[in-house]
C-alpha cells in the first residue's frame, strides 16, 4: 500500500515540481483536493531512518494489518482509513513539528504516535495543544499515562507499560530465584531513561517477591555501543548468581554474541526481558540455552489461531519479522478504528475519547482474546505478558508462562500510591 | 629613540638572534642587511612582539617595551609591513585603510557604530592620496597588483601613525622599474611623516643609495654597523659577502 501510494505521489510530484518550491512554500503543501467520500487520514510519526529504522518499518507493517481489514470491509461508513507516515529520525522536536504538519497540511484528523519515549512526550504536548485525538502506541514509560500531570483527556496509550512488565517479570523471576537459590544479581542495561527505569522497576519487584536478593553489580553500556567487552568482563568479575538485562534490538544480539565468547551464559542464570522479539531470536546464530526471556511479540504466544492468522497476514505484507512495536501499532489502530465506528466516523477528540475510555476490543494479543484501554488512566491492560526459556531451535522459546493480571493490578495500585499519582 | 641591547633568541637549540645591540636615532633611515638566515626577520619579530625575547631588552624612548603584546607595541608607535604582502583579501583598498584607521582610533570594539562613517572615509581618502592609490580605492585587495599590495601594506602600517616604521623587504618580488618607484615612495613617506624608518633589504643598490646607517647581521649576530661608506670598506662584511653565502643574497 505504502509503495503504491508513493508511486502515485511521485508522479504528481513531477508535475508539481515544475511550479517550483517557492510556489509550494506560499500555498502550503498541496493537499487541498478533497473528495466527497474522503478517507479518514491518520497521521503517524515514527522512526524510519538511522539505526532503529527497522522498528518503524514493523510499525507500519503492523498497523497495515488492521487498516487492510477495515478497508477491505468497506471502511467506516464508506470512508477508508489512510495512513500518512513521517520519519521523525527519532528527534523529539522533529516529531512535534511533523505531527503539526500532518494535521495542518495533510489534513490528518487523528494521530497514532509511534515514537519512542522522548519524542512521545513531545507529541503528547502537541496533541494537547492542537486538540487532536491521539493514541501513543510505543512508549512504555509508566509516567506518560500514570502521572496526572502528563495526562490529556483525548490522548491514550495502546502499548505496554513499564510497571506492568516489571511486576509480571518480577514475579516470574522471583520464583526461579527461590527455586535455584539465586541471591546475587547483576544488571546490564542501556544507559538511558528506558534502561534505567526498566532495571530499577524490575529489581524493585524482584526484591519484593523474593526478599534476600541484592544487586551486586550494575553495568551501563551506552545505547548503540558497538562493543560490550568491558561490560561483559565486569559482569564476570562480579561472579553473580544471575544477570538481568533489558538490552534490546541489535544491541542485545551483539551482547549475546560477545558474551558467548566468554562463556557468560554457562556461568550464571540470565534473564533478558527483550529477548523474545522474533527478529532477535532469528538473528542470533547460536542462541544460548536456558536464558529466560520475555515474549515481546512471538507468533506462538499466545498459541492461538487468531495470533497465527495475524502473523500470516503481517508476513504477507512485510519482509521483516514482526516486533513488539508491530502488535502495539496494530492494537492502537484497532482501538482507533473501533472508536471511529462508534462515533460514525466523527473525529471530534472528545467524542472519540468518550468511546475509547474503558473500551474493550477483541485482539489476538489479549490474555483472553480481549484487551481494554482503562478509563481511569487511559492505558492499555490485559495484554499478554509472558516469559519463557530459550531453546536452540525454532520457535526458540519454550516453557512459556503468562503473568496474572490480578497480581499486576494490585501492585500497580500500590506503586501509584507510592508515587502519589492517586 | 629605539634601542635594543643584548637581544637573544633561539629555537630549540638553534640560535636565531645572538646578543644583538643596536640603536636607531629619531628620524633616521637605517637598513638591516645580511645573508639568508642571518636573523633579520627574527629581529623584527622580536621588536614588534610577535616572538618572545629570551633575554635582552628593547627600549623605546627609554621605556622598556620588551615582550609587550603586539597591540601595545603598536600603540607605542612601532608598526611594520611584511615581506610577503600581508593584507585582507576580501576587503576593498579603501575599506582596508578604514579598518586600520578605526583600530588606531580605538574604535575596533564598538559594537553599534556603523563602520562607514564620513569622518573615517575622509581620513582614508587622505591616506589614499598620500599613497597615490586613489584610483584603486574600490577594488578588492586580492585583485590589485603585487606592487600595489606592497604599497597598501606599507600604507596600513603608516595609517597607525607610527613613530617608527619597519619594512621587511619592501621591494621583494618586484621588477627593477617597480623597485625604484617603491624606493621613491618610501623616501617620500619618510620625509613627509618624519618617520624613523628601518628596513630589511637585499638589493644593495637600494641599500647604499638611501640608507643613512646600515647594520649587517650574520648567523644571528651583529657583524658591523655604520654609514654606507664605512660598511662598503668593512673587511669583515666584504668577506662575508664574498664568502659562500654570497650566492644567497
Amino acid at each position: 500500500m505504502k509503495n503504491y501510494k508513493n508511486k502515485i505521489k511521485r508522479r504528481s510530484f513531477i508535475k508539481v515540481a515544475g511550479l517550483g518550491m517557492a510556489t509550494t512554500a506560499l500555498t502550503g503543501f498541496p493537499n487541498i483536493l478533497k473528495a466527497a467520500n474522503k478517507p479518514i487520514k491518520v497521521g503517524v510519526t515514527t522512526i524510519l531512518s538511522g539505526r532503529v529504522a527497522i522498528l518503524g518499518q514493523t510499525v507500519l507493517s503492523g498497523m497495515k494489518v488492521a487498516v487492510d481489514e477495515i478497508n477491505n470491509a468497506g471502511g467506516i461508513d464508506g470512508r477508508k482509513i489512510e495512513v500518512i507516515s513521517r520519519d521523525s529520525k527519532a528527534k523529539p522536536d522533529e516529531a512535534a513539528r511533523l505531527t503539526r504538519e500532518l494535521v495542518n497540511n495533510e489534513g490528518c484528523e487523528v494521530l497514532l504516535n509511534c515514537e519512542a519515549s522522548g519524542a512521545t512526550f513531545a507529541v503528547n504536548e502537541v496533541a494537547r495543544d492542537i486538540k487532536k485525538f491521539c493514541i501513543h502506541c510505543i512508549s512504555e514509560t509508566s509516567s506518560l499515562t500514570a502521572d496526572p500531570k502528563n495526562r490529556v483527556p483525548w490522548v491514550f496509550r495502546a502499548a505496554r507499560q513499564g510497571i506492568h512488565d516489571a511486576v509480571g517479570g518480577g514475579i516470574f523471576a522471583s520464583e526461579i530465584a527461590k527455586k535455584n537459590n539465586l541471591k546475587k544479581f547483576a544488571t546490564a542495561a542501556p544507559d538511558y531513561a528506558y534502561g534505567r527505569a526498566n532495571t530499577a522497576e524490575f529489581m524493585e519487584y524482584l526484591k519484593l517477591f523474593s526478599p534476600g536478593i541484592n544487586v551486586t553489580t550494575q553495568t551501563w553500556p551506552k545505547i548503540f555501543q558497538p562493543d560490550y567487552t568491558e561490560n561483559i568482563t565486569a559482569l564476570l568479575n562480579a561472579k553473580p548468581d544471575a544477570l538481568y538485562t533489558c538490552l534490546w534490538g541489535g544491541d542485545l544480539v551483539a551482547f549475546i554474541d560477545q558474551a558467548s565468547l566468554y562463556g557468560l551464559f554457562d556461568q550464571f542464570q540470565s534473564f533478558a526481558v527483550n529477548l523474545g522479539d522474533l527478529p532477535i531470536l532469528t538473528a542470533i546464530k547460536k542462541i544460548p540455552k536456558d536464558v529466560y526471556g520475555g515474549a515481546r511479540y512471538h507468533k506462538d504466544i499466545p498459541d492461538t489461531q487468531a495470533n497465527e492468522d495475524w502473523y500470516n497476514k503481517y508476513m504477507a505484507g512485510s519482509d521483516v519479522l514482526p516486533t513488539n512495536w508491530s502488535w502495539e501499532a496494530d492494537t492502537g489502530m484497532r482501538f482507533l478504528i473501533d472508536a471511529l465506528k462508534k462515533t460514525g466516523g466523527d473525529t471530534d477528540p472528545m467524542k472519540l475519547a468518550k468511546v475509547t475510555a474503558g473500551n474493550k476490543i477483541k485482539s489476538p494479543f489479549g490474555v483472553d482474546g480481549t484487551m481494554t484501554i482503562r478509563g481511569e488512566d487511559h492505558t492499555l491492560v490485559n495484554y499478554v505478558i509472558a516469559y519463557g526459556k530459550t531453546i536452540t531451535k525454532d520457535p526458540y522459546l519454550a516453557n512459556i508462562q503468562q503473568s496474572n493480571w490480578k497480581d499486576i493490578y494490585v501492585h500497580e495500585k500500590d506503586w501509584k500510591k507510592r508515587k502519589k499519582y492517586i | 629613540m629605539l634601542s635594543i641591547s643584548n637581544l637573544c633568541k633561539s629555537f630549540g637549540g638553534v640560535v636565531a638572534t645572538n646578543n644583538v645591540t643596536l640603536e636607531f636615532t629619531e628620524g633616521s633611515l637605517s637598513s638591516i642587511i645580511g645573508p639568508n638566515g642571518a636573523g633579520k626577520t627574527t629581529l623584527f619579530n622580536l621588536i614588534t612582539g610577535k616572538l618572545k625575547v629570551d633575554s635582552g631588552k628593547v627600549k623605546l624612548d627609554d621605556e622598556d617595551i620588551t615582550n609587550l603584546s603586539t597591540r601595545n607595541i603598536v600603540l607605542k608607535g612601532i608598526s611594520r609591513a611584511f615581506q610577503i604582502s600581508n593584507i585582507f583579501p576580501s576587503l576593498t583598498v579603501k575599506e582596508t585603510l578604514m579598518s586600520s584607521l578605526m583600530s588606531k582610533n580605538n574604535h575596533a570594539e564598538k559594537l553599534f557604530n556603523p563602520f562607514h562613517s564620513k569622518a573615517l572615509e575622509e581620513e582614508a581618502d587622505e591616506l589614499l592620496e598620500i599613497l597615490e592609490m586613489k584610483r584603486l580605492s574600490n577594488v578588492i585587495c586580492s585583485n590589485i597588483s603585487h606592487g600595489d599590495q606592497k604599497v597598501l601594506d606599507i600604507g596600513l602600517a603608516l595609517s597607525l601613525d607610527p613613530k617608527i616604521l619597519m619594512l621587511d623587504e619592501p621591494t621583494a618580488g618586484m621588477g627593477p622599474e617597480e623597485r625604484w618607484k617603491m624606493v621613491e615612495t618610501i623616501e617620500r613617506l619618510w620625509k613627509l611623516k618624519k618617520l624613523t624608518l628601518i628596513f630589511i633589504e637585499h638589493d644593495m643598490d637600494i641599500v647604499f643609495k638611501i640608507s643613512q646607517k646600515i647594520h649587517v647581521l650574520r648567523y644571528g649576530s651583529l657583524l658591523a654597523s655604520g654609514s654606507p661608506k664605512e660598511i662598503k670598506n668593512n673587511e669583515e662584511v666584504i668577506n662575508a659577502y664574498l664568502g659562500e653565502d654570497f650566492e644567497a643574497i
Partner: protein, 325 residues
C-alpha cells in the same frame, strides 16, 4: 549620532518585515505557515548566529548547537519551576527569557575563553568536545533534565501584558518580533566597526594583530554574542514544542546548522536564513515523496557542494551578475 539614525535603512527594513510577518499571522487562516515560520525563526537564528562565527569571523565551530540547547533548557527549566513562577508571576516569561540568555552568555564566555585561542580545525574539535560534554551532562543528569526523554509535561506559559503564548497567534507574533530583533542585531553588528574587526580577523589574523586589534577579545565577544543569539533560537523552539530535548545538544544539530549555512552561502548576510528555509523544504518535500530521505538529501548536498561549489544564494547572485567576485 545615535545608532538608530545611522542604521536607519536596516531598521526600517526590519520594521517592515515585522509588519509583514504579523500580517501573515492575522490574515492567513491556515496554521501551517505560522508553524513553518516559527521553526524557521528558531533554526534560522541558530544558522544566522553560527554564520556570525563562520562567515563573519572565520571561526568554524562544530559545537554551536550546545548554546541553542542550553538556552532552550534554561528557559524550559525556569518555567517548570514552581517557585520561579510564584516569584515572578506574570513576568515569568520575560524574566526567564533574559535569564536564559544571560546564563548562556556566561557559559559561552567560559567555553569561549578556552576555545578561541585555538585556530581552525583545533577550534572546531574543541567546540565539538564541549558540545558533546554538555550532551553527556544533559543525558546523565536525569533528575534535572529528564535525561534522554527531555523536559516532560509541558512548560507553563503565564499570560503577561495581555500576551498569551499558549495561543498560537500570540506566540507567532511574539516569536516574529524577537526573531527580527535578533536578525537586526546581527545585521548591525555585521556593518559596525566590530563587524569589520571580525572581517580583519577572518581574512588575516596576524595582520589584524599588527593593526592593534585585540584578537582574543574580539573573537570572544563574537563567540558570546553568537551563542546568546543561538540561545534565543533554542528559547523559541522550547516555546514551540513546550519542552526541550537532548538532541538539540547533539553534534548532528550543529552539523545541520552548518549545512544550512553552506546551502545558502556564507558570504551573503541572509544566506543562512535562505539555507534554513531550503533545508526545511527539501526535508519536507523529500519526506512526502520518498521513503529514502537520506539518499535523496545526500544527493542534493552532493550536487550543491560539488556542482555549485558555493551556496545557492551566492551562486544565483553571481549568475545574475548582482554579486561579482
Amino acid at each position: 549620532m545615535s545608532t538608530f539614525t545611522l542604521f536607519k535603512k536596516d531598521i526600517s527594513i526590519a520594521l517592515f518585515s515585522v509588519l509583514f510577518l504579523i500580517l501573515i499571522g492575522f490574515f492567513v487562516e491556515h496554521p501551517w505557515p505560522k508553524d513553518f515560520l516559527i521553526s524557521i525563526f528558531s533554526f534560522g537564528l541558530l544558522a544566522m548566529s553560527l554564520n556570525m562565527l563562520i562567515g563573519f569571523a572565520g571561526m568554524v565551530s562544530f559545537g554551536h548547537a550546545a548554546f541553542f540547547a542550553l538556552g532552550g533548557y534554561a528557559f524550559g527549566l525556569l518555567l517548570q519551576s514552581e517557585s520561579f513562577l510564584t516569584n515572578f508571576g506574570a513576568l515569568s516569561i520575560i524574566v526567564a527569557f533574559f535569564v536564559s540568555i544571560f546564563i548562556t552568555g556566561i557559559y559561552s564566555a567560559v567555553i569561549g575563553a578556552i576555545c578561541v585561542r585555538l585556530n581552525e580545525i583545533y577550534f572546531a574539535f574543541l567546540t565539538l568536545a564541549f558540545q558533546m560534554f554538555l550532551y553527556s551532562v544533559i543525558v546523565s543528569w536525569v533528575s534535572l533534565t529528564g535525561g534522554d526523554q527531555g523536559l516532560m509535561g509541558g512548560i507553563a506559559r503565564p499570560v503577561f501584558l495581555g500576551i498569551d503564548l499558549s495561543n498560537s497567534l500570540h506566540r507567532y507574533i511574539f516569536c516574529s518580533v524577537i526573531f527580527v530583533i535578533c536578525i537586526l542585531l546581527l545585521r548591525i553588528l555585521n556593518k559596525s566597526n566590530f563587524g569589520y574587526s571580525l572581517r580583519l580577523i577572518r581574512d588575516n589574523q596576524e595582520r589584524a594583530e599588527f593593526l592593534g586589534i585585540r584578537v582574543f577579545r574580539v573573537k570572544l565577544i563574537c563567540f558570546v554574542i553568537a551563542s546568546m543569539v543561538a540561545s534565543v533560537g533554542g528559547i523559541i523552539m522550547t516555546l514551540f514544542t513546550s519542552g526541550a530535548y537532548p538532541e538539540w545538544a547533539f553534534w548532528t544539530q550543529s552539523g545541520e546548522a552548518i549545512f544550512m549555512i553552506m546551502l545558502g552561502g556564507i558570504s551573503i548576510f541572509l544566506g543562512p536564513l535562505v539555507g534554513t528555509v531550503l533545508l526545511r523544504l527539501i526535508n519536507d518535500v523529500v519526506q512526502m515523496y520518498s521513503s529514502h530521505t537520506e539518499l535523496v538529501t545526500g544527493i542534493i548536498i552532493m550536487i550543491v557542494v560539488l556542482g555549485l561549489r558555493k551556496g545557492l544564494v551566492e551562486y544565483l547572485l553571481e549568475k545574475t551578475g548582482i554579486l561579482k567576485k
